[in-house]
């Protein structure tokens, strides 16, 4: 059965954060539910739909921005009390809008995530987790990296209280009291957690997680160890997951998983007979989906997916058919409803317009005086700058609450800006004089009308570091722009990992000197992505990294006065050495740098590169042949006379071309890295081999692994 859902926009509130919209439980089965939503202005709005018109039940006064909104109540009773987290405060409202709770947590940071179960309250700020029971402090945990979400296994079904934290370092931390029981490694930084089926599945221990790189998975949290059930990889390169819910929208008696992503995609996964998730429905909206829930809002008896978006739209994707089978009279009535809605909106607009004009005039007059100030209107930008592991490039996503007019991208490091198919903005590269003004890239994106979200792809080179700046100008009056800065780190293509292969030949870089733990930590933060800004607890810390492009690894262990960096890639060590000594000199700290080079590591790295290089060369060769072979096919009519290899190319032509298109300049990047490896190898020996680089490129042109290794050895 195909799932057909129709979109119906209900209303717009202010900008919303992740997980800030919920449906209140229905009074009876199949009846319409009320929607409650909190926004960045601090307003909590509860409304229901009556005859296609949104009718507010209550609306609070503006305040601090609402970071989370959850429903609670007594266990095993309808969960209809509304709790919001704003700043460091938790407030509770009844479904009628009466405030019954105001709890100042006294956390130093503002609350980022919240979970409520009976009288238990689980909160997390950036790094701190706190458990309260009846507003009394129970447990506390300081996490090693940012906490994105918190959840607790259902108290009704699992006897022990088991909170789970989703942490930025790709770990789910399972707690017991104030201690970690165990950690679960997940394929990406987890951003959202949800109970499977809304109640934890059969065992009550099943947890669905979504990651910022768009992966979705299910783990069972048993008392002693995790059991991975399934995982959906992000093959289509959709956006990161922001919200997950369970609801039977397909109508087959099994709850489906509803997923909302930050590129505006809404997906429905249902389960086949083997309990494996299957994609049943997807629709793309134009902006991030911040909250999602299944229920019934628009009309009795019709299930729907209700979602809220970044700019505050509350929208339903309903099973109610657009063209209802009814007499022509009703259609007319429906039209009239629409018309009256439009005309009331129009009159409201006129009124506003008049007010704005008045204000504008006042402003104009005020600008005559020399004492008057003019502030740029503030607007919020939702941005994300992440490394894509599969093609080792960064993607920058900018989202604004109103339409974007243009974006200026400026960079003081050489980077490549790649085209993204989804973008409709017209890009224009400007010539830049890098010597006098530190610009290596100046590009403008002129957006088409109604673009609120812009996605860019950036390819960086390891060793070249600096800042990327984006000046975002939205279409608001008076015109203003905001700058956002993003660091391109020296080892930009590395990502955190939690396991390391100790059998590889390793090169070691050791630093000793008069530096504090915080100082050496700040250097590591400067060099590598995905390291928490705050120095972790303890005296000595070890981080593991993996190069997403070459799969080489890096182990960094440091404490006060000493830092040890081990990598099988000599270029990584060379970059670290350069950057660290530069950073230390800036702070006027004397560093003793010693290194130990393992000759075997170069060969090892080349062997790691070899299959990639060979594959790329073969792919390039095959793609080159496709057109000629196709012509032969047209001319001869059949392909039986071709050797099997060529016939195979013809059969796979589309996939080959697709793949080739997906990774532009892959070969050039590999060549670049081999050249760096070559230069770095001899740099450590104290010889400059830059003159031999053309020779190396010649060898690469007619690639043969042994010849290359021989060249590295001989030079």
């Amino acid at each position: 059965m195909d799932l057909h859902l129709h979109r119906a926009d209900y209303l717009q509130v202010g900008v919303t954060s992740q997980k800030t919209m919920k449906l209140l439980p229905a009074a009876r089965h199949g009846a319409t539910q009320k929607v409650v939503v909190g926004d960045h202005d601090g307003v909590v709005l509860c409304f229901g739909m009556k005859k296609g018109e949104a009718v507010a039940v209550f609306k609070t006064l503006p305040g601090q921005k609402v970071a989370r909104l959850e429903l609670g109540g007594l266990l095993n009773m309808p969960q209809e009390k509304i709790f919001i987290a704003a700043g460091s405060e938790i407030r509770g409202f009844t479904k009628r809008g009466k405030q019954f709770l105001s709890f100042e947590t006294n956390l130093t940071e503002s609350i980022k995530a919240m979970h409520i179960s009976g009288s238990d309250l689980f909160l997390s700020a950036s790094y701190i987790y706190n458990h309260y029971c009846d507003c009394k402090d129970q447990h506390y945990y300081l996490s090693g990296d940012k906490i994105n979400d918190v959840i607790c296994l259902p108290a009704e079904r699992v006897p022990r209280v088991t909170p789970v934290l989703a942490c930025q370092d790709r770990l789910l931390r399972v707690l017991q009291g104030s201690d970690v029981v165990y950690e679960i490694e997940v394929p990406g930084p987890p951003t959202v957690l949800a109970l499977h089926n809304g109640n934890g599945g059969d065992s009550g221990e099943d947890l669905v997680f979504g990651t910022s790189d768009g992966k979705l998975g299910l783990v069972q949290i048993t008392a002693s160890k995790p059991i991975h059930k399934w995982e959906i990889r992000n093959e289509k390169k959709r956006g990161g997951i922001l919200c997950v819910d369970s609801f039977d929208i397909v109508g087959d008696g099994v709850k489906d998983v509803l997923v909302g992503r930050d590129d505006g995609t809404v997906e429905v996964y249902s389960f086949d007979s083997a309990n494996e998730p299957v994609l049943r429905f997807d629709q793309v909206l134009s902006e991030s989906v911040t909250s999602i829930q299944g229920g019934c809002v628009g009309k009795d008896g019709y299930d729907e997916i209700v979602l809220s978006t970044y700019s505050g739209w509350v929208t339903g994707l309903t099973t109610e058919p657009v063209h209802r089978e009814s007499g022509p009279g009703e259609e007319l009535k429906l039209n009239q409803e629409m018309q009256s809605k439009i005309s009331s909106l129009r009159s409201e607009l006129e009124h506003l317009q008049y007010k704005v004009l008045q204000e504008r005039e006042k402003d104009q007059q005020a600008s005559q005086s020399s004492k008057a100030r003019s502030a740029a209107p503030s607007f919020s930008i939702n941005d994300k700058f992440t490394l894509n592991t599969d093609d080792a490039s960064y993607s920058l996503i900018l989202e604004v609450q109103t339409a974007i007019d243009n974006v200026l991208i400026q960079s003081d490091v050489p980077i490549d800006l790649l085209d993204v198919d989804k973008n409709s903005a017209v890009v224009s590269f400007s010539s830049c004089d890098s010597e006098s003004s530190d610009n290596f890239l100046l590009a403008t994106y002129r957006c088409q009308a109604n673009t609120t979200r812009l996605e860019l792809k950036i390819r960086s080179i390891e060793g070249q570091y600096g800042t990327l700046q984006a000046y975002v100008t939205p279409r608001i009056h008076p015109k203003t722009c905001q700058v956002r800065q993003y660091l391109i780190r020296p080892l930009s293509l590395h990502q955190r990992s939690h396991c390391i292969d100790h059998d590889r030949p390793m090169n070691t870089l050791t630093l000793t000197g008069q530096f504090s733990f915080a100082e050496v930590h700040s250097w590591v933060v400067f060099c590598l992505p995905e390291v928490p800004e705050k120095p972790p607890a303890g005296e000595c810390v070890t981080f593991h990294f993996q190069n997403t492009f070459l799969d080489t690894q890096l182990e960094s262990t440091y404490r006060k006065g000493e830092g040890v960096f081990k990598s099988d890639n000599i270029s990584t060590i060379s970059i670290l050495k350069d950057v660290l000594s530069k950073e230390a000199t800036k702070k006027k700290i004397n560093l003793n740098i010693s290194y130990e080079i393992n000759e075997g590591s170069v060969k090892h790295t080349l062997e790691l590169i070899h299959p990639k290089l060979e594959y790329q060369l073969l792919l390039a060769k095959k793609v080159q042949l496709i057109d000629a072979l196709k012509e032969l096919q047209v001319h001869e009519g059949n392909t039986n006379f071709l050797i099997p290899e060529y016939r195979c190319i013809l059969e796979e032509a589309d996939q080959l071309q697709e793949e080739y298109k997906k990774q532009p300049a892959h070969l050039e990047r590999l060549y670049g890295m081999i050249t760096d490896l070559f230069i770095d190898k001899f740099k450590f020996k104290g010889t400059n081999v830059k003159t031999k680089v053309p020779l190396l490129l010649e060898i690469l042109d007619s690639y043969d692994q042994n010849a290359l290794i021989a060249f590295f050895d001989a030079a």
Binding site: T444, T480, K630
Partner: protein, 721 residues
């Protein structure tokens, strides 16, 4: 939602823009398209049993209802339609870089096969002006040629640059068709038979043109712009990052007015309202769209819109029925309207809130660091802009300069200039490094062409530590001749070339024209007539003199014939002169042209000789092959071997000969282009009737190969002395 009524997947690639539908047997519409390897395929789904099988055409081995036509040369344009009204069926016309073939598919014979020296980049079929028979008009290397069904050359004229697109449209609403020509120099020219009646300058190469209805027509540029003109006025245009591959006018929502259907390089097809450019329908293909055409492919009496992708996917759409009320997309208009209104409301609320905050900010006293960061600046901040000429120094070449400064201590973080045609892309950014931020900024501008340009400036103003900036938006016009600096006259270096003409205008008006079109220093004071002004080009340092006598006689001295033409055209439009006869002399340029003409003759004769050689050689090959095979049959292996060796050598010679011919041909094309351009330039020195007279007379002189007359025409404007 409008869905395709049919979808076909052919296993042949389709070359972009080379798709046409014709009724080659008089009843059944068939789709013809150029494909790989110099072939044209004809898809004929209607008469399955009947196949054209003949030497030139053979059935496709991949598909039963597709026939292939071998052209053996890269096809550069293709169309189909009625060429001979008496026949009652359509002809297929295929153009290549050297030939034009008019082909009778039904009878498998040629209507004609003509050599065209200027190549055929674009083709259009139909009636032009008063010429009674339909013409196949091809546009090539600066030249336009029209052939009737017998291959007679009934129409020939030149245009400014290589032709990229052609269309027939009733431009002046006189019931007769005019020819629209889009060319590489960014101009759309309108020819009423061989007279240019209008010229519109665009910002990029015009890749497609299509008539809409009446005097309206659509156009597409190579930078992703599509739009609609009504006569010389542009109605609307939009720009996309993708390229428009093909445009076509079709009434998709049955409202009686054609929409502009565009097929894009990313596989998107959209239909836009001819009045507003608003999208009323869109669909997506998996690969780039090759062509958009219309025809009754289902044979049900209604024309369908047919879109083809380069991978051979073909979709047909019937116009939306009356019940859809023009609503072809999946969304409801009301919903969209509500969304739009709500968005507007949010924006207004945001603005209101800002004013409230401003009012609050005024209460708080002095401006501190934190305010600067939040983007608070004095409300009376103003931005000054000035355009001037900078003569340059050792490190920087001379340029026009735009100076922007703020009225107080605020700094300029960055300047974005959006302007068309003078930068690499559509914009230019100046982003000074953090150490050299100041309240004023100087931006060098060097427009490559002498055209007036609107500079849309966006200036980010704030403080050093700001993370939010005010955006000041201004538009300044860069005058047409901004790359010429006023210098003191120096008669020794006065250029020999000149144009001379008389206008009935007061000298003050000429001074106003000077002020509008040149960047004159502010203190320039030009006394009354007679006077003379001298300019130096910032591009190459050449001199330009403009002298005015009391009688209104103006002399312009410059060696640059294009510049002289630009000045005359600019004056003509400023003073609203309809006809202007001009006396001109460009000795250096004319000498070069004389050499080019001699070269053209040389290349022509070489070309003929080479062609004769090739014919000889191919005869030789034939006989050698026969003799070699004879030897093989007689088992005289030694002779056979020798013959084949000779054949091999001859083949090598042929290949070499081909290379020489190729070079010869490119040279010839280059020179022919120079000649065509010279005629065009001579025309541009005049206005109105004299202009057309010059072009016609020059062409006659070239036809009759009378070089001296040609130069006399260029000098004085007429053939008779």
């Amino acid at each position: 939602m409008l869905l395709p009524v049919f979808t076909l997947k052919l296993r042949h690639k389709i070359s972009p823009r080379m798709v046409a539908i014709g009724r080659y047997d008089g009843t059944h519409p068939c789709l013809a398209a150029a494909t790989q390897a110099g072939k044209v395929f004809i898809h004929n789904p209607h008469t399955r049993s009947q196949h054209f099988n003949a030497p030139r055409v053979f059935q496709s081995p991949l598909e039963s209802d597709v026939s292939l036509l071998n052209i053996n040369q890269a096809v550069s344009c293709l169309t189909a339609g009625v060429l001979n009204p008496e026949l009652g069926y359509d002809a297929l016309l295929v153009g290549t870089q050297t030939n034009l073939l008019a082909y009778d598919v039904y009878n498998n014979s040629d209507f004609f096969y003509r050599e065209v020296a200027d190549g055929a980049n674009a083709i259009v079929l139909g009636t032009l002006g008063d010429i009674s028979s339909p013409l196949a008009i091809i546009g090539g290397n600066c030249a336009l040629q029209g052939f009737d069904h017998e291959g007679n050359d009934l129409f020939w004229t030149v245009t400014g640059d290589n032709v990229h697109s052609l269309a027939l449209c009733d431009f002046d609403s006189d019931g007769k068709k005019e020819l629209l020509v889009g060319s590489e120099d960014f101009d759309i020219r309108v020819f009423k038979e061989d007279e240019i009646v209008a010229e519109m300058t665009e910002t990029e190469i015009i890749t497609s043109l299509c008539p809409m209805y009446g005097s309206r027509f659509g156009y597409a540029l190579s930078n992703g712009t599509v739009g609609v003109y009504d006569k010389t006025a542009r109605y609307w245009r939009i720009k996309s990052k993708n390229h428009a591959m093909s445009i076509h006018a079709f009434d998709l929502n049955s409202d009686g007015v054609c929409e502009l259907i565009t097929g894009w390089s990313n596989g998107k097809v959209d239909a836009r309202s001819d009045r507003t450019g608003e999208v009323i329908f869109k669909d997506n293909f998996s690969s780039a769209v090759a062509g958009v055409i219309e025809g009754d492919y289902l044979l049900d009496g209604h024309a369908q819109l047919i879109c083809c992708s380069v991978d051979g996917e073909i979709r047909g759409y019937l116009p939306g029925s009356a019940e859809m009320r023009g609503n072809l997309m999946d969304t409801s208009i009301e919903q969209d309207l509500i969304r739009e209104l709500t968005q507007k409301k949010q924006n207004l609320l945001l603005e209101l809130r800002n004013y409230e905050e401003n009012a609050k900010a005024e209460v708080s006293s002095s401006l501190n660091e934190a305010d600067g960061q939040r983007g608070i600046i004095p409300a009376n901040t103003k931005l000054h802009t000035a355009l001037s000429v900078n003569l340059g120094n050792e490190t920087q070449a001379a340029h026009a300069e735009l100076c922007i400064s703020t009225s107080n201590d605020t700094i300029i973080r960055a300047v974005l200039i959006f302007a068309e045609g003078i930068f690499l892309g559509e914009s230019h950014v100046v982003h000074p490094s953090i150490h050299s931020l100041s309240s004023s900024i100087r931006i060098p501008i060097t427009p490559p062409k002498d055209v007036p340009v609107d500079l849309h400036l966006k200036t980010f103003v704030g403080y050093r530590s700001s993370t939010q900036f005010h955006v000041f938006e201004l538009t300044r016009q860069l005058p047409r001749f901004s790359m010429y600096a006023l210098t003191s006259p120096d008669s020794a270096s006065q250029p020999l070339s000149y144009v001379n003409f008389t206008i009935a205008e007061r000298a003050q008006r000429v001074v106003i024209w000077l002020h509008q079109n040149f960047l004159l220093p502010e203190d320039t004071n030009i006394q009354n007539a007679p006077f003379q002004v001298c300019f130096t080009s910032l591009r190459n340092g050449s001199q330009l003199y403009i002298k005015i006598k009391l009688s209104g006689e103006i002399t312009v001295n410059t060696d640059d014939i294009d510049l002289a033409g630009d000045i005359i055209q600019s004056m003509a439009s400023f003073f609203a002169i309809e006809d202007l006869q001009v006396e001109a002399d460009f000795p250096v340029y004319f000498e070069e042209l004389r050499k080019v003409l001699i070269k053209v003759d040389e290349y022509h004769s070489v070309h003929q000789k080479l062609s004769a050689d090739m014919a000889d050689n191919s005869n030789l090959i034939r006989s050698l092959l026969v003799r070699a095979e004879d030897a093989r049959l007689m088992r005289d292996m030694k002779t056979m071997k020798n013959r084949y060796m000779e054949l091999y050598d001859l083949n090598k010679d042929l290949l070499n000969g081909y290379k020489i011919r190729c070079n010869n041909h490119t040279e010839l094309l280059g020179n022919l282009k120079a000649v065509n351009q010279a005629i065009q330039r001579a025309g541009r020195l005049r206005v109105g009737k004299p202009k057309n007279q010059v072009i016609t007379a020059c062409r006659d002189a070239i036809r009759s190969n009378n070089i001296n007359t040609l130069f006399r025409i260029m000098r004085v404007g007429t053939a008779s002395s």
